[in-house]
Amino acid sequence: GAGVSQSPSNKVTEKGKDVELRCDPISGHTALYWYRQRLGQGLEFLIYFQGNSAPDKSGLPSDRFSAERTGESVSTLTIQRTQQEDSAVYLCASSKDRLYEQYFGPGTRLTVT
């Protein structure tokens, strides 16, 4: 079956612009996560969605970051007024439920110039 997909795969943007990243989870997966991975680093948790519950936004680094998810479908991560330190790979993962293994998408490589 189809795995987690993300788009775009690469995004180059100028400092100060807004960007929107998209994640299509595996069908039927109620849990969806966004992570950030800087070059050569581990993963940094950003936000978690579980079904129709309020998202856990505790990992968002600033109010320039926001994310939405409608039900158990597509999620978008928006970064406003991008800064160079936002350059990273943004990974999305989905799972059947919070405690099940996560399946990761291929990531979106964001470069802010």
Binding site: Y33, Y35, Q41, G42, L43, E44, F45, Y48, Q50, D56, S58, G59, L91, A93, R98, L99, Y100, E101, Q102, Y103, F104, G105, P106, G107
Partner: protein
């Protein structure tokens, strides 16, 4: 705050040798995960360890969990070049959504 520490961070080993990667974490956890990441690729799930004493094996990799010591190990047996990758452990704190990843162990297996 939950901390997850892996060691070593870099590991260069010869084919045919054995080695162990360690993952320590600082608080009570629901479960522990091991992932593999190839350069430029996303993460692939290797193991999910659910309870104290859990041991799982897949090919040349074996993972174990000691919840009392808050320690998981990933043991590599008779390494082959194809195992070269970065290995991450990750922990979900009890009753928390914030999955924390270790910094990763970059493994290079040389012929």
């Amino acid at each position: 705050e939950l901390k997850v520490e892996q060691n070593p961070l870099f590991l260069s080993m010869q084919e045919g040798k054995n080695y162990t990667i360690y993952c320590n974490y600082s608080t009570t956890s629901d479960r522990l995960y091991w992932y593999r990441q190839d350069p430029g690729k996303s993460l692939e799930s290797l193991f999910v360890l659910l309870s104290n004493g859990a041991v799982k094996q897949e090919g040349r990799l074996m993972a174990s969990l000691d919840t009392k010591a808050r320690l998981s190990t990933l043991h590599i047996t008779a390494a082959v070049h194809d195992l070269s990758a970065t290995y991450f452990c990750a922990v979900t704190p009890y009753n928390n959504n914030d999955m924390r990843f270790g910094a990763g162990t970059r493994l290079t297996v040389k012929p």
